[in-house]
Symmetry: C2
Subunit: 616 residues, 2 copies
């Protein structure tokens, strides 16, 4: 197994494979000059047929770009998907359903045919899109277009402009759409204001976007309605799923079955040369090339979609997952106490009752299936600890369905006497909001932003229950210090004489990491926290505990110590201590033995936690 790897230091600054793949697509397809510029709107004939841009945006907001990804063009029919989403958001699913169907029409996008009950077949054909604009006009009147421009801008993550020349050109020549609009008016799908609605529709089609914009818009759909670049929630996940549904069944016109079979990504194209394609939870793709095939789809854009899907076998139904990986640790608090050090009688209670607190640490975006798995773990596996901590600090997202199952489980547990403590989420986080929204009356639910605080609270419950009190002692005598255990009274008295009493205010830093370790401290009253400079808390200490004791063997401080409350302590200079030990080797032996025991106990705790975290 042993060999001689070349270990010269090199940078990893090479392009990611996906960037190179997109560049190779661009290189390969740019020489394909087949197809024609759209001519049904005269102004579109002025497009540059050589333009070709590709952009791909990931759900963590990384933007890949190749070629003319910043070249502006009019969005045209690509707008239909996003305006449909806006309509669902604005007037609700029932109102939209009363005006527009969701079945593929099997006809061209500009067909004037309606369903048997005189509705547009779906929102991806012109009739349906005009009906959508009509729904928004009903709510907003003259402000409808600004609403649309604003919402599409949220999808794209920037303010979008209108190409007035294209708008004027379409207004002058859009008689077929005018006919469709009047037919919709005839069947009362449109209310009054046909001309106003048509103007909104023509204007929305003339909104200027780039391939990069389309990719961000698609990625917003792929990311459950949250723009991954700006972080803004543009529409709800429910609206996203319905929008992607009609893109899937009707987005690529009479090609629906073939498109889902071969490419498997909800998509929408426009005669301006743009295509958006969204692969849920993975990526958004935007392409621009104005040469169109016989179905009015961008020739090069289609090729990019097909190549991406085929090369990496990307398909919305080729979806991997394993619910079991959502639990990264599941343990009781045996040997895994909070970082608050306890008095011996308190520690004894915790040692006895460790199985009363169960901690489950979750990881990843949680959905229905993964939370179902969690609820089954809770239902089937003994023992039933009355305190259950669910830690979410590695959970970026939870679906409403997942939160619903979880809330039901928490309620059931509460009825059988179990208190659930949710940790690792801030009150302001969307994860907490989603969970909280599902819980009616949180009788037996607690919430702490930090896991360690949750464990500390659970420990307090146990100590309170089994020990009767949790108060820390007011003051402690030197003889109670673990480091000085087994010393005779006159021996500790001698040490006290070598020490200087100190007082610190709450919030003061007593020991500074990196500075010379010249003394150790015996805490008499108050609380201190030992923290790494990064802010990670290593321990909380109370009266009767020592800190800075590593000075016995280390020359510099390895952590900060902060006063959490007003603090009284004795500071023992390390030099005086060394002299004393020199004079009293037997006492020194006891102290060194105590120090080793302290370290050994901490090491056992730390190793247990490492094994626990590594095991999952």
């Amino acid at each position: 197994m042993r060999g001689n790897a070349d270990v010269r230091t090199t940078g990893y600054g090479t392009e990611p494979p996906l960037q190179r793949f997109l560049a190779s697509c661009h290189q390969e397809f740019k020489s394909d000059n087949s197809g024609e510029l759209a001519d049904y709107i005269p102004e579109l004939k002025r497009a540059n047929p050589a333009h070709f841009g590709i952009s791909l945006v990931t759900i963590d907001g990384h933007v890949y770009e190749v070629g003319d990804s910043a070249a502006p063009f009019t969005i045209q029919s690509v707008s239909k998907a996003f305006v449909f989403a806006l309509a669902l958001d604005l007037v609700g699913e029932a109102r939209v359903a009363s005006a527009i169907g969701v079945e593929p029409s099997g006809e061209a996008f500009n067909s004037i045919r309606l369903t048997n009950d005189n509705k547009p077949f779906n929102p991806m054909v012109n009739a349906g899109a005009i009906a959508c604009s009509g729904l928004i006009h009903e709510v907003d009147g003259r402000a409808a277009f600004e609403r649309i421009r604003d919402k599409l801008g949220q999808f794209a993550g920037r303010e979008l402009d209108v190409d007035d020349a294209v708008h004027a050109s379409e207004t002058a020549t859009g008689n077929r759409n005018r006919a469709i609009a009047w037919l919709l008016r005839n069947y009362l799908v449109l209310q009054d204001g046909v001309d106003a609605v048509l103007d909104i529709y023509f204007r929305q089609c003339a909104i200027l976007v780039t391939a990069r914009d389309l990719a961000v818009m698609a990625a917003t759909l792929a990311n459950r309605g949250v723009n991954p670049v700006t972080g803004v929630q543009v529409v709800t996940p429910h609206v996203v799923a319905r929008t992607l549904s009609v893109m899937t069944s009707s987005g690529m016109y009479d090609y629906a079955g073939e498109w889902i079979y071969r490419v498997g990504m909800p998509a929408k194209s426009g005669v301006g040369g743009g295509i958006v394609a969204a692969l849920p939870s993975q990526l958004g793709l935007g392409t621009f090339s104005p040469l169109l095939d016989g179905h009015f789809n961008s020739v090069r854009g289609l090729k990019v979609c097909e190549a991406l899907s085929a090369r990496f076998d990307l398909h919305m139904l080729n979806r991997s997952g394993d619910v079991r990986t959502c639990i990264i640790a599941d343990y009781d608090i045996f040997g895994i106490t909070s970082r608050r050090s306890r008095q011996p009688h308190e520690q004894q209670i915790l040692d006895d009752r460790h199985s009363d607190t169960r901690v489950i640490e979750l990881v990843g975006a949680l959905n229905f299936a993964s939370i179902d798995y969690v609820t089954r773990r809770l239902s089937s596996e003994p023992p039933g600890a009355p305190l259950l901590i669910l830690d979410f600090h590695r959970v970026p997202d939870i679906t409403a369905a997942g939160a619903q199952l979880l809330a039901e489980k928490i309620a059931t547990l509460g009825n059988s006497g179990v208190t659930t403590i949710i940790s690792g989420v801030e009150t302001t986080s969307p994860v907490w909001a989603t969970i909280r929204a599902q819980i009616e009356e949180p009788k037996r639910l607690r919430h702490f932003p930090l896991l360690d605080d949750a464990v500390e609270w659970a420990e307090d419950q146990l100590i309170y229950r089994y020990g009767g009190f949790t108060e820390t002692k007011e003051t402690a005598h030197l003889s109670e210090q673990a480091l000085l255990a087994d010393l005779a009274p006159e021996e500790t008295a001698a040490l006290a004489e070598l020490s200087t009493p100190r007082r610190y205010d709450a919030g003061q830093r007593i020991v500074v990491a990196g500075e010379p370790a010249n003394s150790l401290f015996f805490l008499q009253s108050g609380m201190v926290s030992v923290k790494l400079p990064s802010g990670v808390r290593l321990a909380s200490l109370g009266p009767g505990m020592e800190f800075g004791e590593m000075a016995i063997i280390e020359s510099h401080r390895s952590a900060d110590v902060w006063a959490d409350t007003p603090v009284k302590c004795l500071e023992l200079p390390i030099d005086s201590f060394a002299d004393y030990r020199q004079l009293h080797p037997q006492i020194s032996m006891k102290i060194m033995r105590n120090l080793s025991a302290l370290l050994a106990r901490r090491l056992i705790l730390a190793n247990a936690k490492v094994d626990l975290l590594s095991a999952y």
Copy 2:
């Protein structure tokens, strides 16, 4: 924040919320007696209209069941989806495409109409299904039915039987299907043997299943072709995606657009009363109730699908994910060395060159998007360590697309001098097979089943490179023991006199966890491993290192120690050592100080690892 939680011990043995939801569906819908028994096959009229079973199987193989979930019935058209998958598997996509289309027909399932180029519209209508059976007949002849029965049995996870009465009834009355078959023969979609193909088709429709079987079959589709109950890979993920595609576009007959919009789960129903529905990466649903609506779909089954989707907003396009959670730890080996203890000069090299080894621990099922994220992390973030360990021990699955991106990145890294080491997967695991299949020539790729072994190998590379040798010393003198550092030669000689030389064979256990700790050991030659009874290795030690030294402060052994090679050591009884220390307090001080330093160093390592693992 402090309150009085009721901490009486209670069991968690309550039903999971999903079980209760399915039971409530069953309770609610069983009183709906609308719909009719199928009559187009006379034998089906004998079904019990009260029968109603629901089963839901998760992708980790948990089976939920309510009502008549074990009642057998004939699979009928539900078979079409699975036989289509078999055909794709057996004759390939191109051959299937030459015989059958993938567009919705917009007509009834038993329509005799074909596409303009005289093919069945899709495999979910009778014509397409008969064509599928024909494709299998072409390959297997008379054995075709057994092939089908066997494959459907793999999907269900048990051997399936045929209802001979239903088969006979359908054979006697299936004249419309006979007409379809002869029309297909006319257009050469079927080759010779029309009667044989029809018999296969009638027989496959008469296969007996239960709601539970259907749920397992659906869950196999949801789980990328791996039966989650048996673990058998039944078909490839590619075939699964294509099968789910046609179920999506054509599975629910002329209801495709509405079904995907409202329910959003690929599904297929049969006139026997069964419905399968698969939600990729989440669950499979199987229902049975023989009362059918006007579209020949099971009334109660549809209600269950709709209720499940609506209640939990389950929809195949409502898909959450966050690629960033796939990396659970990313670090260099500063303070995170392997558990093999090193000689001081070796440790010095590792301390100096820690940033030459970077470890990335991955978690969860990895796909295209998550591996793209990993490749970007590798491309953008300095520094470029020449040794890169990617740990997969928490990765249950990787898609071929993910493996492809990864392989490309590994090749690029290799070209710039970086050696990639993949750990945490066995050579026999599917994850390793998927990765390995994408790598042409693994020049700079290493593989270790354990992360710790990978880190050890990387350390060896660095030591070899910067120290010139990695050999462990043949033998060590007592003066080299860390525990005895700073002792004078006559002091160590005195200790040697108190000790007994011991030899152990490779594989022998030297120290047993739980036994009294009566002695400590100084290792002179050979290697030992310190392990927890669980098998977790805490440390590997070589000559010049001590073990069992916790006997100084602990009364019982906390871990096992095993000889990895033939071992020579000195055993020092703890009582003799105590007497010696009593006589020589100054020497004892040095030893205790050394012990504390050893423990402190181990504690710092363990705390660093805890903070690292907790931070992600």
